[in-house]
Symmetry: C2
Subunit: 493 residues, 2 copies
């Protein structure tokens, strides 16, 4: 049973299969009976809840409030913004009827043809349209601005090729939708939020990211600018992990949202939107995990420390429990999430394997012999190193280890990511290097034509024009035309 749990495909053999197996074996999620939709299992959902709590705190600290808008969007709303409809029409779930009836011939239920809707609804793929239609009534004057609203919600995009967490038809996310009196303020907001995402990714998920601007071709449907955080997965592919959009006045114009400014003149309102989703779970998994299963950064681990008692008799267990009780109480007082697993229907070996697969950062094992010796065995999930340490002061040791694991995971991921960034100057070299994966910094002439040629020939896309780093101009590796700065290419999820 313990063996079976850890019987994984190796990452080096088939990364994609390893990922799918891990998601299921670590009890994070599973395929559902609905095509392309997953069930997020309690353990996976607990990690998502931790992410939500931190993000929600960060949004509130930057002045945002939550609200809730309808799941369904009138079909006609989608057509109002030309790029937007183009981006989403092909993957919409369409509601056409509002009633079922008993099937007189075959039993069961059928759609009641008499209950056809006059105008169909789509299940929101994103909520710009319904929200800007609402904002029209909220905004009259500059005094009503800014509006800083976020929504936690489910959205639906009928994707044909899905993978759990990375690309599912339904997914959970948050979508911020803000309205501003000036272009500058909206642009600032869009940048602020991509920085919030980067801060969250690096300091909570321990996932290093590169912040930058998307090329025109890769922008959100309806945006004037899209900012992104891009992470590097262990297989050399990039994962877009969060985006923030400067929408200009596009949606204000499409939904006629105007305000009277301080000079008493009417103007269209400026907009941003920004979102992260359950896709972050994919980033978390593919940044830290190994051939033994999930590895979780302590800040997002539902269980930070698991204690497995090794006992043969009820007396042994009782002795262990008595010794540990004050330690557990003290750890909880310090805010450490501890689980004492005294289940007697599973062997210690099975528990070890199970918590390893689930990525619990620290494991303690303690038996009768340990109690006599005043020791306890501590294991770190990130290094898999075991050590017998004095029982006295174990709370401090654990606190230290948890902090150290959080830092170590980030550092390891950063080193790996940095080792995967290379500069390339010729298209020849580019084609060769892209096969190895990683982020390639190369010069590009800024045209969609060149970008698409590269994509077609190499499957690499421009992940972003990075905010930071080398800004030296050069010549496009493909056309030789001038390039303002190197941009980042990669194959991606």
């Amino acid at each position: 049973m313990a063996k079976e749990l850890k019987n994984f495909t190796k990452r080096s053999d088939n990364y994609s299969q390893w990922y799918n197996e891990l998601v299921v074996k670590a009890d994070l999620a599973e395929q559902s009976a609905v095509r392309g939709c997953m069930v997020i299992k309690p353990y996976g959902y607990a990690i998502w809840e931790k992410m939500q709590a931190e993000l929600d705190r960060m949004f509130k600290e930057t002045g945002h409030q939550n609200a809730y808008f309808p799941l369904l969007i009138p079909k006609s709303f989608l057509s109002r913004e030309a790029d937007h409809v183009e981006g989403f029409a092909k993957e919409c779930a369409v509601v056409t009827h509002y009633r079922l009836k008993v099937d007189p011939e075959n039993g069961g239920v059928v759609v009641d043809p008499a209950a056809r809707l006059e105008e169909e609804y789509i299940i929101r793929p994103t909520s710009e349209t319904i929200i800007w239609n609402t904002y029209r009534n909220w905004i009259n004057s500059y005094r009503d601005l800014p509006i800083l609203v976020n929504q936690w919600a489910n959205v639906f995009r009928w994707e044909m090729r899905t993978r759990m967490f990375l690309r599912t038809a339904e997914f959970l996310w948050q979508e911020g939708h803000t309205a501003h009196a000036t272009k500058e303020e909206a642009m600032e907001e869009a940048i602020r939020m991509v920085n919030v995402y980067a801060n969250f990714a690096e300091n909570f998920m321990a996932v290093p990211v590169i912040k930058g601007t998307k090329s025109a071709n890769e922008r959100f449907a309806g945006a004037l600018d899209t900012y992104t955080i891009e992470a590097m997965m262990q297989d050399g592919k990039a994962l877009q992990s969060g985006t923030s959009h400067f929408l200009g006045q596009n949606f204000a114009k499409a939904f006629d949202v105007k305000f009277v400014n301080k000079e008493n003149k009417e103007e269209y309102v400026w907009a941003t939107s920004w979102g992260v989703s359950t896709r972050l779970m994919g980033a978390l998994i593919m940044t830290h995990s190994d051939d033994n299963g999930l590895v979780l950064p302590p800040k997002l681990a539902p269980i930070q420390v698991v204690i497995v008692p090794i006992f043969k008799s009820a007396e042994d267990l009782e002795k262990i429990r008595t010794t540990l009780d004050p330690v557990i109480t003290e750890m909880r007082r310090r805010g450490i999430r501890v689980k004492f697993d005294d289940a007697d229907n599973k062997r210690p070996g099975f528990k070890f394997a199970d918590y390893e697969v689930k990525g619990v950062p620290v494991r303690l094992a303690i038996g009768a012999r340990d109690i006599e010796n005043g020791t306890v065995e501590i294991m770190r999930r990130d290094t898999l190193e075991k050590e017998s340490v004095p029982f006295v002061g174990i709370e401090d040791r654990i606190e230290h280890e948890l902090e150290d694991i959080q830092t170590a995971l980030f550092e390891r991921a950063r080193k790996f990511r940095d080792s995967k960034i290379i500069k390339v100057d010729t298209y020849e070299e580019f084609k060769e290097k892209i096969e190895e994966g990683g982020f390639i910094l190369a010069h590009w002439d800024g045209s969609t034509e060149t970008e698409e040629k590269i994509k077609e020939e190499t499957k690499a896309t421009i992940r972003c024009i990075p905010f930071d780093g080398d800004k030296t101009p050069g010549k496009c590796m493909v056309t030789g035309k001038p390039s303002a700065q190197r941009v980042i290419f990669a194959r991606s999820y």
Copy 2:
């Protein structure tokens, strides 16, 4: 402007209109462009978030974990449980297509007929079917039980007559779905959760409730027993505020969910489900609010104390701010949610009216004169009483007032509710008294026939067979047949 804010329909003139106006004026919610769906505005959503946080804590303390299941349900799943399909088929939103395309004739987008689904999906009206289809793979042995899972989600029931929070096509809720090895354990769970709901209603919402069992006729579609908490609104109508269902083995049989018990025999699994929704917002409003607007119990108020400075000059404001700063810091340290509203584009009178309409429990007003005198004006929203009190020790006073308001609101509501409970022995008297509203305790013969006759003739339904109180048998007020105990009738939302 301040007058306009408070220019409400009086409750005594038109209760239903008062409610609708209050929901909008207190900035809780508004109608959306989607028929029957509302937009929950930031202030209303902040109250819902407080409810969610407390409930979620209570669920976790009783051993439950959150998970997430698909929004869409294959149409055929609904037919598996006969009562269930009967209960929900008539109000289902049906997804029939997965793509839109550009309309070649008129522009805009139309449903792409080529993208018709083989089997339609419905948007979940509740999730028993998809969840029990999933549980089949989670459960093999008694060791896998119990499963104690909750889901926070949106659901959709295509209601024809909707009212904000009380009955909307889409609403937000939580649905617990548990699986057990024995009938007794499942029944205990269903009772445990209706008790959790009653505890939450009374101790957080300050809404007194009567716990009881539903009559067969009023049960959830697919349940063997439904337990409910029933609250009394100011207009004498009852509001069902939360329900918990003992589902027996109905869904286990419909979805073939069996387990091997300790005696190594196969058995069907026992089930419960339980839910509360944004409808609780309606209960909150219609229990406490008055002709001046919303009244909130402190435990659920997004802002517990608002401080309005009265100033003519920037110096005055600065003086007030300096005096208040340490007090605000101390209140926040104590966990009190304080807002210092120093906006200079609104007059104090407008602010007073606005926070009154929004139901903020305590208001402080402080001017330059107060600073000189060492006083501050305090107002309680529940009594609307103002008092000038010493500034020193104001934190303690506020802490005390908040506790007192929470208790006072519950006591007031309980007294009102108790005054609305009467015993009636003849159907004649029943027909007369039901016009005055309230809960009527009367004897009933236990038959659906009698129940439906009463409903038809008086619009009153059996709210519940109460757990507590008088259990003396008697004779049915309509048929004269034996009755085990008095049950509670009322007209309801």
